[in-house]
Amino acid sequence: MPVIVKIPAPLRPLTQGQSEVSVENAATVQAAVEDLSRRYPGLRERLLDDKGALRRYVNIFRNDEDIRHGKSLQTALAEGDKLTIVPAIAGG
């Protein structure tokens, strides 16, 4: 069973409009992000900074867990996990 990644509306132009995409064989969040970045050009730049760290205005949750509070991008993934990408937005 793959890992499901939920894509927020502001990033869907990069995933051809898909709100969910799946990733196979990713042992960590980092591996999942790298896989997505290969398949969806431009996504890496929106999620990671020049040093490869998660951008300060984007967050990723593994199931209900905020990865920033744990091992961040090195958070381990198991089959069936769900990743939710949450970007900061400021429209009003």
């Binding site: 939920k6 927020p8 509306a9 502001p10 709100s19 951008r55 300060r56 205005y57 984007v58 967050n59 949750f61 209900d64 905020d66 920033r68 509070h69 939710t84 949450v86 970007p87 900061a88 937005i89 400021a90 429209g91 009003g92």
Partner: protein, 230 residues
């Protein structure tokens, strides 16, 4: 008498102010915005009409609320929220609603609310996406527990670039008012430590838990804010 301060009289501030005035007409509403009404605002900024174009949003909104809701007590502050003006604007504030269109202002409002122990309702929209988070300092997490800080200019599309779905503004603005009313009644807000997200295009909603960050520079050391009637 309770006071709610609403930052930004735009697509969120307008419906939030109207809904809160209707729900709790005795509440004093302080409407903060330094902008003027533009024709392009009218589709989603429901307190304004064509005749208001060019006038200060805060003043027009205060006048319109007073006419629409008998007993409403709305005051205009034609100014931009900034750390420098925070203590003046937040004096006597019982709940702060943030519907501004600036990341810098949003993080400044979060920090000021945490420091002053004032409950905050954070609402935001972009395109067909919406977010809502209630902050009760000392009782959960804040915006900086979720995001470390604002993006640099140009890194995230603005409303002008990505657009804002008008119906979603009404939905999120009304939800902000609902959370503010809960806080003013001393009830636990539904989105405390929980980011509620709307996908208006697909008609779906989902929550993610936002645990407090023990190292959060805004709220980790903030004193507890008590619910008004715990």
């Amino acid at each position: 008498m309770s006071t709610a301060v609403i930052l930004g009289m735009g697509g969120l501030g307008c419906p939030a102010a109207l809904a809160l005035a209707e729900e709790m007409p005795g509440v004093r509403l302080v409407l903060v915005d330094d902008d003027r009404v533009e024709r392009s605002n009218l589709a989603r900024q429901i307190l304004f009409t064509e005749a208001d174009v060019g006038q200060p949003k805060a003043e027009v909104a205060a006048r319109r609320l007073s006419r629409l809701v008998p007993g409403a007590r709305a005051e205009a502050r034609v100014q931009r929220f900034a750390p420098r003006s925070a203590s003046d604007l937040l004096a006597g504030c019982d709940v702060l609603l943030d519907g501004t269109d600036s990341f810098e202002t949003r993080f400044a409002a979060n920090d000021a609310a945490c420091a002053a122990r004032i409950p905050l309702v954070h609402g935001a929209v972009l395109g067909w996406g919406g977010q809502l988070l209630a902050v009760l300092p000392g009782h959960g997490s804040c915006l900086r527990c979720l995001f470390e800080g604002p993006p640099p200019p140009g890194a995230v599309p603005t409303c002008a670039e990505a657009g804002v779905a008008s119906p979603l503004c009404g939905l999120v603005g009304a939800a902000m008012a609902s959370e503010a009313a809960r806080l003013l009644r001393g009830e636990r807000p539904r989105t405390l430590a929980r980011l509620h997200q709307w996908d208006g295009l697909r008609g779906t909603e989902r929550d993610v838990q936002v645990p407090p960050d023990p190292r959060c520079p805004a709220c980790a050391l903030a004193p507890e804010a008590a619910l008004r009637h715990p």
